[in-house]
């Protein structure tokens, strides 16, 4: 019997109300994150992956509505507000654009100290400062004293993202949600930040939910990969398994999109077609319109997640019973 | 085509809200009255200030004289109605001249930059360093009273707003990839200005200018009120209020109704501007915010 997962998402559905109608951004998503595990949520922009992250962190925009499902974190359902306040400090989040995600009118020190004060109930300024300095040093920032006094616009993107990570980890959370943490950074910095995250995960016993559009990054991070398409989870497997043996046609397509130097491809591939309108998601498989292997059944009936191998599930009719 | 689509969307947005519809009706009503006033007024001679009827002075609003009569027995309603024509002339004149000065300055400064551009923008800044209306006051005092002088005075204090607006627009558009490709393709400077810069930089400016007509009416009335606007007996709204002020204890209506006319008309323009600001076009919103003084 496995131990209870740290976080369990059950049938989560989220909608955005906009002027043109209701966008069903996430539909019936379910997955677990175990303690000390890295889970990568992979998908194109608009696939609902960030929405899930925001929902777990409790920072959905005001026009978002959770239509149904559960977010169970350490036996509390986070959709319930009271439970949410109890476990606030256990879940922290970092974002794509570090320059936009820190208030430009406040110093790093002020923001860190507010976060620390709120969650750790420490009020001694010296203790707060010590902790903040320690964290800044831990994420590899030089001259942390000066860093505390700096405004965001005085720092580079990479330094800022490290400071954001330090802020998030200063309250010793159990789960870190990293929403495309390297997308806005240079390639060399990307690797550094990812490595830092891996290091921190081991040191702090963190679980990490890494949200990315880049399957390559997800593969490097190890752990489990969950592939999302248009608000639905289509495949889930350990990273080795997924890379070696992708099952869902969408995942296969994604893998072919990654530029590789070892294989002699003369042309970059892409997946033809466009995403369906999420105000009116199709009743059948969401990938039907772009799938090269689609069969008649795919148009009408939505495939459910089936376990094909151990630790490898997929939502595709090609693998449902009777087909294989 | 895209512009047409945008216009249609904006119009849709305006009409959907009842208040915006009212504003639209006010503005159209004002323009129509402005054009047709000489044919609409019940007492044309009173309106132009040619007739006196001292026995009938200070008569309160009645069916015969909707807004009452003034100290010389003239029909206030007629004078207010004709006042719309003068306000319209002033507004169109001020905005028109301001655009004629402001657009070339802004386009030249924004597109060519360099020393000339820098100089032009410094001059613009100098004019903007005056509090609004102050420059118009001293100009009007220098030129003397009169409709044309009033228009010139206001326009000269007004153009720097547009030149700065056009400057910013031009500067942004100048660095757009499509302008670069036009340059590489060997289009002449004139054609680039004509085909790319001017249409894109001017649309928001012209819309802004049309909506500024309310402010122009308001400020012109203020100048007339403190004695540097039009000459009596011109039935300009600000001057009418000023004339009514002298006998406000006896007959409140003489000052009240022209002021109300200003209020309603300017509110119409400003509500329309507000509705546009709420519409989604960020480019337009940016320029309007700038007009309000927010630095981007």
């Amino acid at each position: 019997m496995m131990s209870e997962p740290l976080l369990r998402i059950e049938n989560l559905s989220i909608e955005y109300v906009v002027q043109e109608g209701t966008i069903k951004a996430v539909r019936n998503a379910s997955f677990d994150i175990n303690e000390g595990e890295i889970v990568c949520l992979v998908g194109e922009s608009g696939s609902g992956k960030s929405t899930i992250g925001l929902a777990i962190a409790g920072a959905l925009p005001e026009n978002a509505i959770i239509r149904g499902g559960k977010i169970i974190f350490q036996d509390h359902d986070l959709i319930n507000q009271r439970a949410r306040t109890c476990s606030k400090k256990e879940i922290m989040m970092i974002f794509q654009d570090p320059a936009a995600s820190i208030n430009p009118l406040f110093t790093i020190g002020e923001i860190m100290s507010d976060v620390i004060k709120t969650h750790l109930k420490v009020h001694n300024p010296n203790a707060i400062k010590d902790l903040a300095l320690r964290m800044l040093r831990r994420v590899g920032l030089p001259d942390p004293e000066r860093m505390l006094r700096s405004y965001p616009h005085e720092l580079s993107g990479g330094m800022l993202q490290r400071a954001v990570i330090a802020t998030a980890l200063s309250v010793n959370p159990k789960l870190l949600i990293a929403d495309e943490p390297t997308t806005m950074l240079d390639v060399t910095l990307q690797a550094q930040i990812l490595e830092l995250l891996l290091n921190l995960k081991n040191d702090f016993g963190l679980s990490i939910l890494l949200i990315t559009h880049n399957l390559g990054i997800a593969a490097e991070m190890g752990g489990r990969i969950i592939v999302m398409y248009c608000g639905e989870i289509v495949e889930e497997a350990s990273s080795n398994e997924l890379i070696r043996n992708p099952l869902h046609p969408y995942t296969k397509g994604l893998l072919e999109c990654i530029p590789r130097t070892s294989i002699r491809y003369s042309k970059l591939k892409h997946i033809p077609g466009i995403m369906p309108d999420l105000r009116n998601p199709p009743s059948g498989c969401v990938f039907y319109g772009r799938c090269s292997e689609a069969i008649q059944k795919c148009r009408m009936i939505k495939p459910s997640m089936v376990q094909v191998y151990e630790n490898h599930t997929v939502a595709c009719h090609l693998y449902s019973r009777g087909m294989r | 085509m895209k512009q047409l689509e945008e216009t249609r969307m904006v119009l849709n947005l305006i009409i959907r809200k009842p208040i915006s519809l009212i504003a639209l009706i006010i503005v159209f009503g004002f323009v129509i009255v402005g054009f047709l006033a000489p044919y609409l007024v019940p007492y044309p001679e009173d309106a132009w200030g040619l007739a006196y009827n001292v026995e009938n002075r200070f008569s309160p609003p009645s069916l015969q004289h909707l807004f009452g009569t003034d100290a010389l027995g003239r029909d206030v309603f007629s004078r207010v109605l004709l006042g719309a024509r003068f306000s319209l002339m002033i507004a169109v004149g001020v905005i028109g001249i301001a655009l004629i000065i402001g657009i070339p300055v802004g386009v030249i400064a924004g597109y060519y930059g360099g020393k000339i551009g820098n100089f032009l923008m410094r001059v613009t800044d100098m004019f903007l360093a005056f509090p609004p209306l102050l420059l118009a006051i001293v100009l009007a005092a220098t030129l003397g009273r009169g409709l044309l002088n009033l228009i010139i005075a206001l326009a000269i204090s007004w153009w720097p707003w547009y030149s700065r607006l056009v400057f910013i627009q031009t500067n942004t558009i100048k660095n757009m990839p499509y302008v670069d490709s036009a340059k590489i393709a060997g289009l002449s400077t004139f054609r680039i200005l004509y085909k790319h810069i001017i249409p894109n930089a001017l649309t928001p400016t012209i819309v802004q200018a049309a909506l500024d007509m309310g402010s122009a009416i308001l400020e012109a009335a203020g100048l007339s009120f403190i004695g540097v606007g039009v000459k009596p007996p011109t039935p300009e709204w600000g001057l009418l209020v000023s004339e009514g002020w002298q006998s406000i204890n006896v007959a409140w209506w003489i000052a009240f109704f022209p002021g109300l006319a200003i209020l309603v008309t300017v509110t119409g323009f400003n509500l329309l501007a507000d509705a546009l600001r709420e519409s989604a076009d960020p480019r337009l919103r940016r320029t309007i915010l700038m007009r309000l003084g927010i630095k981007q």
Partner: protein, 340 residues
């Protein structure tokens, strides 16, 4: 964070340039554009000798460059000319009326900010609800009222018809005489408080209410609309979302973080509000017989007292430039990104 000396230095240099430019433009308008400036200067009923005297005073017999230098010299040494309406030196006229205007503007400013900013915040929080709609429409109407007309109506309604409040002058004569009140700073509210003169204090507050409210109307609506627009934008920004995700309490996010983000651009825009109020004071003071610089300027305009008008314009313009510089400095303290 203290302002850097470098920034202050640069800002002061810029101020000097702007003031120079303002004086130059005023010179062009008052001395170069008119065909015969001395006629304007001497007034409509001047004798030939007076016109000749004006010519000499304006150095019109000299070369134009020299005229400008002499003009600057006169400005610096306080030779601003004699008002032929009050028969007094213009600079002393202006200085003696400055505090009355400042008192009025400051009170109006406080009213505008104290009411405008909360209204704007309220509208932003209730975005697109009926409260927002009501506030928006009301503030648009408020920004469209001709201030001189509003002054007349308020004076008529509250002063004359209802008789609730005095509607002219800063203080009643009899109060000054019976309590032998002697202004020191010229701010009657402060003076009477310092002297413990309750009667004058109450009386002068009663007098300032109506004109201050009328003067505050426009900047109040302006600041409410600005606050709403900026607040809505701030609330939608990513850094607010991150603070939420980091679990900071709503109240802290709103009142510490968002408010500062909102105030920064708002303060930058206060200069314009101030400008509108100075000009608004011309009309409001005229109607309420408030003996400030606005009243002085408006009376000078109405009686074609050109030297006095010119003096007022220069003083007001320079004052406005200084205010804007101060506001920019304050803005740079709040928003560290602001650089020259």
């Amino acid at each position: 964070m203290p302002v850097s000396k470098e920034y202050l230095f640069k800002r002061t240099i810029l101020l000097a340039f702007v003031v120079f430019g303002v004086i130059f433009i005023t010179f062009m308008i008052t001395r170069v554009i008119p065909a015969r400036p001395e006629l304007l200067w001497a007034g409509p009923h001047a004798t030939l000798e007076q016109i000749e005297e004006a010519r000499r005073q304006l150095h019109l017999d000299k070369h134009i460059y020299l005229q400008f230098i002499l003009y600057l010299q006169d400005l610096i040494f306080g030779n601003w000319g004699i008002s032929w309406r009050t028969r007094a030196p213009i600079l002393s006229d202006i200085i003696s009326s400055l505090t009355a205007t400042l008192e009025l503007i400051i009170i109006a400013f406080i009213i505008a900010v104290m009411a405008g900013i909360p209204l704007g915040i309220l509208a932003a929080i209730k975005k697109h609800g009926w409260i927002d709609d009501v506030i928006r429409v009301l503030t648009v109407i408020g920004a469209s009222v001709p201030v001189f007309w509003l002054a007349l109506i308020v004076q008529l309604a509250f002063g004359m018809w209802l008789g609730l409040l005095p509607s002219a002058k800063r203080v009643d004569e009899w109060v000054v005489i019976t309590t032998s009140f002697k202004p020191i700073t010229g701010f009657y509210i402060i003076d009477s408080m310092l002297q413990g003169n309750l009667l004058v204090l109450v009386n002068s507050i009663q007098h300032i209410i109506l004109p201050a409210i009328v003067l505050a109307a426009y900047p109040l609506c302006l600041s409410a609309r600005m606050t709403r627009a900026v607040m809505i934008e701030v609330l939608s920004e990513q850094h607010v979302r991150s603070l939420m995700a980091w679990g900071l309490p709503q109240r802290l996010i709103f009142f510490k973080y968002c408010l500062k983000n909102t105030l920064a651009p708002l303060i930058a825009s206060l200069g314009l509000s101030f400008g509108y109020m100075i000009i608004g004071a011309f009309m409001v003071e005229l109607v309420f017989v408030w003996p400030g610089i606005g009243f002085y300027a408006a009376m000078s305009l109405l009686s074609f007292d050109y030297p006095a008008v010119t003096g007022c314009v220069i003083i007001v313009a320079i004052f406005y430039c200084i205010i804007n510089t101060l506001i920019d400095i304050i803005h740079s303290v709040i928003d560290p990104r602001v650089k020259l």
